[in-house]
């Protein structure tokens, strides 16, 4: 996957954390996701569809989830409950939504976020997708953002545009 596609997601995540949570989000590194198991116990999953398809996973630990709820709702929670799932889902929605603007040529639509909880859940990306994982540090702990886009569709789209340009040039 072309790593440049990750940049809008990094930018959006930082923006959402700064504005909504008053927390800087410090980037720690990048890696290629090697396994189907999420890094942390709370995963918010958003599907992307349109001319390009893909999946965005926002993965956080329980302490980070509790911090998010405290900041957004001024509510103390000690377990991952419906309020936590909702807040994390909404945050992931904002991150994906903010990044989507940079892919307007692909007419992307966001699915509704699904939040999975627990250390044993499995998240599989489609076979031709190698998700990139961006590691961050927020005020309450570690955060990961996994983005897997079907770049075959992007390459095909770009090739089609190039072919159209060539046809137009030949006809002039």
């Amino acid at each position: 996957m072309d790593v440049s596609y990750i940049n809008p997601f990094i930018e959006s995540a930082s923006n959402v954390f700064n504005i909504t949570l008053n927390s800087p989000l410090t980037r720690q590194g990048l890696s290629l996701k090697q396994t189907d198991t999420p890094l942390y116990e709370v995963s918010a999953v958003i599907g992307l569809s349109g001319k390009v398809s893909g999946t965005v996973v926002f993965s956080i630990s329980a302490p980070v989830a509790f911090g998010i709820v405290k900041q957004m709702l001024d509510t103390d929670v000690a377990e991952i409950n419906a309020d936590v799932a909702d807040a994390v889902g909404e945050l992931s929605n904002m991150i994906a939504g903010g990044a989507k603007v940079h892919f307007s040529q692909y007419n992307l639509a966001l699915g509704l976020p699904k939040v999975l909880v627990g250390h044993n859940h499995v998240l599989r990306f489609p076979g031709n997708v190698r998700p990139i994982c961006v590691h961050f540090k927020a005020r309450w702990g570690a955060v990961a953002l996994e983005v897997g886009l079907d770049t075959l569709a992007i390459s095909t789209e770009n090739t089609a545009d190039q072919d159209a340009d060539l046809e137009l040039a030949a006809s002039c």
């Binding site: 909504t20 994906a96 903010g98 509704l112």
Partner: protein, 123 residues
């Protein structure tokens, strides 16, 4: 001042409701709905002064809700609070008759400024 507040996220409804309460709207004057369909049912049953709605929701989305409202009510302010920031989406909302638009994420101050603009009773 009666408000119809529509969002499938309880978190977002809570944040917006707290802002409305701070601006002087009574709790009994804020009616919540979790999607466009239930919002439309509330809208048809009650008398509201403003509708504040998300865009992407299950069952019926905010744009469809807006279009349904505008079939019979061209005047009521409808404010969209959404992650949808692309120009084409904003244009489609304007063409459907949206009164105002607020893109998530937003600070509480931005939310307050937006709501104050449409609710003159607020201080």
């Amino acid at each position: 001042m009666k408000v119809l507040l529509v969002d499938d996220s309880g978190t977002m409804r809570t944040i917006q409701k707290r802002c409305l309460l701070k601006l002087g709207i009574g709790e009994e004057d804020i009616v919540e709905a979790v999607n466009g369909q239930s919002a439309l049912e509330q809208f048809d049953r009650g008398v509201f002064d403003i509708v504040i709605t998300d865009w992407n929701m299950p069952v019926m989305d905010g744009l469809t809700l807006l279009k349904e409202i505008r079939k019979n009510d061209k005047e009521i302010p409808v404010v969209m609070v959404t992650t949808e920031a692309e120009k084409s989406r904003v244009v489609s909302a304007i063409e459907a008759g949206i009164s105002d638009y607020l893109v998530k994420p937003f600070t509480v101050d931005t939310l307050k400024d937006k709501f104050q603009k449409w609710v003159p009773a607020m201080v």
